[in-house]
């Protein structure tokens, strides 16, 4: 057993209100530089929807992530070792700026300088790349809130596995449904971006598992952009270097939550340490997709197990990190309660960002001129939720509806339990039945309720001490590095020489 620690995340989708505060917080801190205007290290998508970059989940086109070769070994879908040699001059699976959008601003001076006339002056959009006037054809949230749109939502790659009936119900006006899907780098255990980098510029930090790009080693071979199935490495067209979410490590090392976590209005984000067995990464990543969620959960270790603690210590994991792992909210959501699931685990990167699937209940429908409840009881079976289970399973269950149904059923049980405690109109026998069916107990429901609804800042973000005495970048003032090429530089980035 090779015990390592990883900063891991949970996003509670039922609580996300799609306000994009996280995206703006990230943009203002990290990507307000030339060449990074189009990058959204954190973005919030509407699901069903095509996302950012457009249709990023369609791996037949983007070729991100891993696949198994004829011998059952892991192989990058885009450019593995052998295939990078002939493809290094032109990466065949590299998305272009048009797959994202061309960043723009407006010619605001026209508003002030226009001569007096009968019509209102307008500020025309101009490209932030060329400076030329442009017509805006896409943006970072182009299909925001268009859940039922036949133009955007209908192109969601996750809809492929649905039956025609399920598709129809997803787009029927009474059942129209959408939810928000905030995304940052998953800081995977088996990152395909790291494996694809010919220069070895990408690496996983041993101490906390954060995946970073060494800006001084990146040579713009572009492999990481093609290899990341979540499209969370971005190419800076100005400096000729790739950049990605750094999980705000300068903030984490000073005990602060990452900017997107800190600013989250819906308080949907949880961050904590997970201990895992690094020896099992390859074995788990090779499993059939329907077994992977269970297996990944299994390789995450119990931080209270004396044997795990002993092995972690022997491996150099600090006691303070083990202690943080014992209080980790992520551990509770993922391992204890099993209601947080990894996105698209079938791409075999073993993401360490987990999502609590949204309930999306159907409350009412139109019957002639009246509105009627669709179910007899206020809390209906999850199978009657508006989003088909197979859709959620494609996104979060590795194609397996079982995990999603389990998570939703348990969340529904928590609601029924709370109603019985606060309103008191639930039959105790019914409640006991529901709890048993949902594989939960009153104590667990209470804990889920508290961490979901009443969670304080310190309960949501359990950040281990950074151990300044051991860190390299610790002595630097984070804000000195705004507008510079990255942490560790003070000079501004320039193109080439």
């Amino acid at each position: 057993m090779d015990v390592r620690s990883q900063i891991s995340m949970v996003f509670h989708l039922d609580k996300c209100i799609g306000c994009h505060t996280c995206s703006i917080a990230c943009k203002n801190v990290w990507t307000d530089r030339k060449g990074t205007e189009y990058m959204w290290w954190n973005n919030v998508e509407t699901k069903p929807g095509t996302g950012f970059p457009t249709k990023w989940e369609d791996q037949r086109e983007y070729r991100g992530g891993w696949e198994l070769d004829e011998d059952g070994n892991l192989r990058l879908k885009s450019t593995s070792r052998a295939r990078i040699v002939p493809n290094i001059f032109h990466n065949p699976h590299m998305p272009s700026m048009d797959d994202y959008y061309e960043p723009w601003t407006y010619k605001y001076e026209d508003l002030f300088n226009a001569p007096e006339g009968d019509d209102q002056p307008t500020a025309i959009p101009i490209s932030k790349v060329t400076g030329n006037p442009m017509s805006i054809e896409a943006g970072p949230n182009w299909d925001d809130d268009l859940g039922g749109s036949p133009v955007y939502a209908a192109n969601d790659p996750n809809l492929e596995g649905l039956t025609p009936q399920e598709r129809e119900q997803l787009f029927a006006i009474e059942r129209l449904v959408f939810f928000y899907f905030p995304r940052i780098c998953n800081h995977c255990l088996n990152p395909s971006c790291v494996a694809s980098c010919p220069s070895g510029a990408l690496y996983k930090r041993g101490e906390d598992g954060i995946v970073l790009i060494d800006q001084k080693v990146c040579r713009a071979w572009r492999s990481c952009v093609a290899a990341c199935p979540y499209k969370k490495t971005y190419f800076n067209w100005q400096t000729g270097k790739s950049e990605k979410c750094i999980l705000c490590f300068p903030r984490l090392e000073t005990g602060q939550a990452p900017a997107c976590f800190h600013s989250c209005v819906g308080r949907i984000r949880y961050l904590g340490v997970m201990l895992y067995d690094a020896e099992r990464i390859e074995e788990v990543a090779k499993l059939p997709p329907e077994q992977m969620i269970e297996a990944q959960r299994d390789m995450l270790l119990d931080p209270n197990d004396p044997d795990v603690i002993r092995q972690a210590r022997a491996n150099g994991v600090h006691d303070s990190v083990i202690e943080a792992a014992q209080r980790s909210p992520v551990y509770q959501f993922v391992k204890l309660w099993k209601i947080a699931l990894p996105p698209h685990i079938e791409w075999r990167t073993l993401p360490m960002l987990f999502y609590v699937p949204p309930l999306l209940p159907v409350m009412s429908r139109r019957e002639g001129e009246t509105i009627a409840s669709t179910t007899d009881s206020f809390f209906h079976p999850v199978e009657q939720a508006r989003a088909p289970m197979s859709y959620l399973a494609s996104l979060l269950g590795g194609g397996n509806t079982g995990h999603v149904t389990y998570a939703l059923r348990k969340q529904m049980a928590v609601r029924l339990y709370r109603r019985s405690r606060t309103v008191g109109d639930v039959d105790e026998a019914v409640l006991a039945d529901v709890l048993r069916e949902a594989d939960t107990t009153e104590a667990e429901c209470e804990a889920i309720y508290r961490l979901t609804a009443l969670c304080t800042f310190d309960e949501r973000f359990v950040i281990p001490p950074a151990h300044r005495e051991e860190a390299i970048e610790m002595m630097k003032e984070p804000h000195e590095h705004r507008q510079s090429a990255g942490f560790g530089f003070l000079a501004g980035p320039r193109r080439g020489s």
Binding site: H90, N132, E470, I472, R495, S497
Partner: protein, 243 residues
Amino acid sequence: MPGSDGFHHLDVILYAVLPYIAMFVFFLMTIYRYRTQSFSYSSLSSQFLENDKHFWSTVPFHYGILFVLLGHVVAFLVPRAILAWNGSPLRLMILEVTAMAAGLLTLVGLVSLIVRRLVVPRVRRVTTPADTLLYALLLFQVVTGLTVAYHHTWGSSWFATTLSPYLWSLVKLNPDISYVVPMPLFVKLHILGNWALILIFPFTRLVHVLVIPNAYLFRKTQVVRWNYPRREIRRPPGTERAS
């Protein structure tokens, strides 16, 4: 004005002094730049800004110039092998035709790259003066090279008997320009273009040639960096240091 050894001063400067200046600047500045500005070592790919023309220009250019460069290097290193190969007219013909094809491929790729730079506004935006100078010199070099190949055929053979000795004389620090001075104009221009390219090499994006990632083929799949020797740093006091 001929010097004491019978050569014109200008010839001495261009073919015996310039090469040393160029090589000196090349080695000094590439190392200096790598050590002080490693951030600037990048291929500066513009594929992200324009994806289709990129394929049809950069791929022929790189494959073409790699083959042509390889030919030059082989003729410089093992001229006898080239002469032996060229002993049969058929093999000579095969080599010449292949080299010419590679040269034309380079030209097509390079012209496409230049056109792409000019007509795609996004790519023009990221073109620096150093890029312009580099493209001009590369075009000069490819055009003079192809002109030599066309007008003075069987270059693979006469390169081995004239220019290889000239280059080796430079390596041995005993420059002998008697092979070069009587050469036709376009051969001389091609030689000068070569020294000019080596001279500006450290100041352009050409440095990406020096950092081609050979190690990737042999390294472990995943890369993990530790801030400290993790097992060692928290070794309980009084226990033995692991060797």
